[in-house]
């Protein structure tokens, strides 16, 4: 790929118009197929929502129905009162996510700046080091981390779990922040230096405000990863009161005496989906742009 092409790719945000020459019938067909596929993709969530507002008996009926016969909040009431109460699991999950966001932002933002703005020997090696969590899967590290955390009181601890969730986000976040800082024109900081700003002021006063959308993005991703993560939570949080939402869902599924409460499970699924979908729908700009600038260079 030539430099010119790359330059154009960088400059041009608006896409090529590959359908400009396509006739109207093809345009309609493409639209119809796309909407059909979108409807198929949405169906599982919609069906789950319908099942969640069925009565408990109706939700476990066999053969099942697509639509509820009668509306009921029975399943949601059950989930709200599930064992320690839904709120305790939600607040556990939220606290873990908030800690994870803080850790990620505090370490990834300056690291991205250091990588984008400074030239020094061994920088590439250090960058690779920060990408290490991609190469050493966290699934393999859970055993030593569990033992270490147990020694220092971080087992069954929200902060301990947050550390692991933050680790998952480090490579992506550092990479994204580096790209973001590289996009800030050097001239701005050079001008600030002439005005007497120090290195840290260049970072905090000039560059940082310009990459705030990137910071929002890495925070969103950290939230979603943390809110959804199951395996580390399963291993680290073995006290019922410390369960996060995904573990709560698994334990709802396991049920009592082998009988699954399908209605309550669907209510739980819908509740666990809501924050992610809300973030995605309302902050889509940050989410998708982050995904793209992080992965497609």
């Amino acid at each position: 790929m030539s430099d010119a092409v790359i330059a154009q790719r960088r400059v041009r945000a608006a896409p090529a118009s590959q359908a400009t020459e396509a006739g109207a019938p093809i345009r309609y067909l493409v639209g119809a197929v796309a909407v059909f596929i979108a409807a198929l993709m949405l169906a599982p969530i919609v069906l789950s929502f319908f099942a969640s507002i069925k009565t408990t008996a109706d939700a476990s009926a066999s053969p099942p129905t697509y639509l509820p016969r009668a509306l009921s909040l029975e399943n949601y009431v059950k989930i709200f009162n599930y064992q320690a109460g839904l709120w305790s699991y939600v607040s556990n999950s939220l606290m873990v996510a908030i800690y994870a966001i803080l850790i990620v932002v505090v370490i990834a933002v300056p690291a991205g700046y250091g990588l984008a703005r400074f030239r020094f020997r061994g920088k590439e090696v250090l960058f690779l080091l920060l990408l290490l969590p991609l190469m050493i899967p966290y699934q393999a590290l859970l055993t030593p981390l569990y033992l270490d955390f147990a020694k220092v009181g971080l087992a069954n601890s929200q902060f301990g779990l947050a550390i692991i969730h933050a680790m998952l986000q480090v490579p992506f976040s550092v990479y994204l922040m580096r790209n973001n800082f590289e996009g800030v024109p050097r001239e701005l900081e050079e001008a600030a230096v002439i005005d007497g700003a120090g290195s840290f002021q260049c970072f905090s006063r000039v560059a940082l405000p310009l990459v705030l959308p990137g910071v929002v993005t890495i925070a969103l991703f950290a939230f979603i990863t943390s809110w959804n993560e199951l395996l580390a939570a399963l291993i680290l949080m073995n006290k019922e009161t410390e369960f996060t939402v995904p573990i709560m869902l698994v334990s709802v599924r396991t049920g009592h005496f082998g009988a699954v409460d399908w209605g309550a499970l669907q209510a739980g699924i819908i509740i666990s989906i809501i924050p992610c979908v809300a973030i995605y729908v309302f902050l889509q700009k940050y989410y998708v742009s982050g995904l793209l600038s992080g992965a497609v260079k």
Binding site: M1, V5, Q8, R12, A14, P15, A16, Q18, E21, G31, A34, I37, A38, A39, M41, L42, P44, L47, A51, A59, S62, P63, P64, Y66, I103, A108, P110, A111, G114, F120, K123, L126, L129, L132, P133, M135, I136, P137, Q139, A140, L141, L142, P144, L145, I163, V170, N228, L230, L231, I235, V250, L265, C276, V277, Y280, V288, L291, L292, A295, V296
Partner: protein, 291 residues
């Protein structure tokens, strides 16, 4: 002297991240390797046993079964995700409102947790209450409700369907961006030359987006080699232990059977496999597109 300060400043900015990776990735990795040479148990104790754990792995048919299943899962799902994702990207790459909307919806499951989506599909696949089964029957695709999780092959496909639903939008959105990133000059030149749509796809889009294709392949394949949640929730490793994945087997050995030493040796092997895979793919990516 100036250069020296700049070097220090750069290092200083990177220090928190480097210390974090050192403390929570590198040092634990060292501990993992050490533990893999011991008979440590989750209940404590353990002594140096040399290569015994690795020799045990060599003879552990359960591990090879789990690794074989993981590879099979990866080999099946990766092409589906790549080809499916790319076709969806070609379909929706134009920025018309209706296509942007479709893209948004197709991407939606990506933000849902894998645990949650697995529970959702576990319900959809249930032979008693599952609406996916019912839909197949109602559409005359299947005769009766399918019992997905009593055969390893059906269970594999159930898991693949659920994961494809969950992650296909990820590849699609990256492919859309990289297709849209292809310079308009190039596409216009091809139009003037009278290229058909498929010629443009094979001669322009595919080569110019190869970097992204390889990147997404890498992410998907590594993610699949590390599969856990979907199997833990949907099959529980069954039937007859045929659907354990590598990570699931490590979890089982370390935290259910308490054999930390053995689990650590398994983890070291898994890490080695992932690293080799990542290295091959990264090298490939670098070679195919020198820019």
């Amino acid at each position: 002297m100036r250069m020296r300060n700049k070097e220090l400043a750069g290092l200083l900015y990177m220090a928190p991240a480097l210390l974090f990776v050192l403390a929570f990735v590198l040092i634990p990795f060292g501990q993992l390797i050490y533990t893999s040479f011991t008979s440590a148990s989750l209940l404590g104790g353990g002594s140096w046993v040399g290569w015994a754990n690795y020799e045990r792995i060599w003879h552990d048919s359960n591990f090879w079964k789990a690794l074989g299943f993981t590879v099979k899962y990866t080999v099946y799902i990766t092409p589906i995700l790549m080809i499916g994702g790319y076709l969806l990207a070609l379909l929706t790459a134009t920025n018309r409102p209706i296509l942007q909307f479709a893209r948004g919806v197709i991407f939606l499951p990506v933000v849902i947790g894998l645990g949650t989506s697995s529970l959702l599909w576990f319900w959809l696949f249930d032979q008693q209450v599952g609406l996916f089964d019912k839909a197949l029957v109602d559409l005359h695709i299947a005769q009766d409700m399918i019992v997905w999780f009593s055969s390893a092959d059906w269970a594999l496909w159930a898991v693949i369907i659920s994961v494809v639903w969950k992650v296909i939008g990820f590849g699609m959105i990256l492919f859309v961006a990289s297709i849209q990133g292809v310079s308009r000059d190039v596409t216009e030149a091809s139009l003037i030359d009278g290229a058909t749509y498929w010629q443009r796809v094979t001669h322009i889009y595919l080569p110019l987006t190869s970097r992204t294709i390889l990147l997404v392949t890498l992410i998907s394949a590594i993610g699949s080699m590390l599969a856990f949640e979907q199997l833990y929730i949907m099959t529980g490793g069954g039937p007859r232990g045929l659907t354990f994945t590598s990570v699931y087997w490590i979890y089982q050995s370390s935290f259910i059977k308490f054999q930390l030493g053995y689990g650590s040796a398994l983890s070291v092997i898994l890490t080695a496999i992932i690293m080799v895979g990542a290295a091959i793919q990264i090298t490939l990516t670098a070679r195919r597109s020198p820019a």
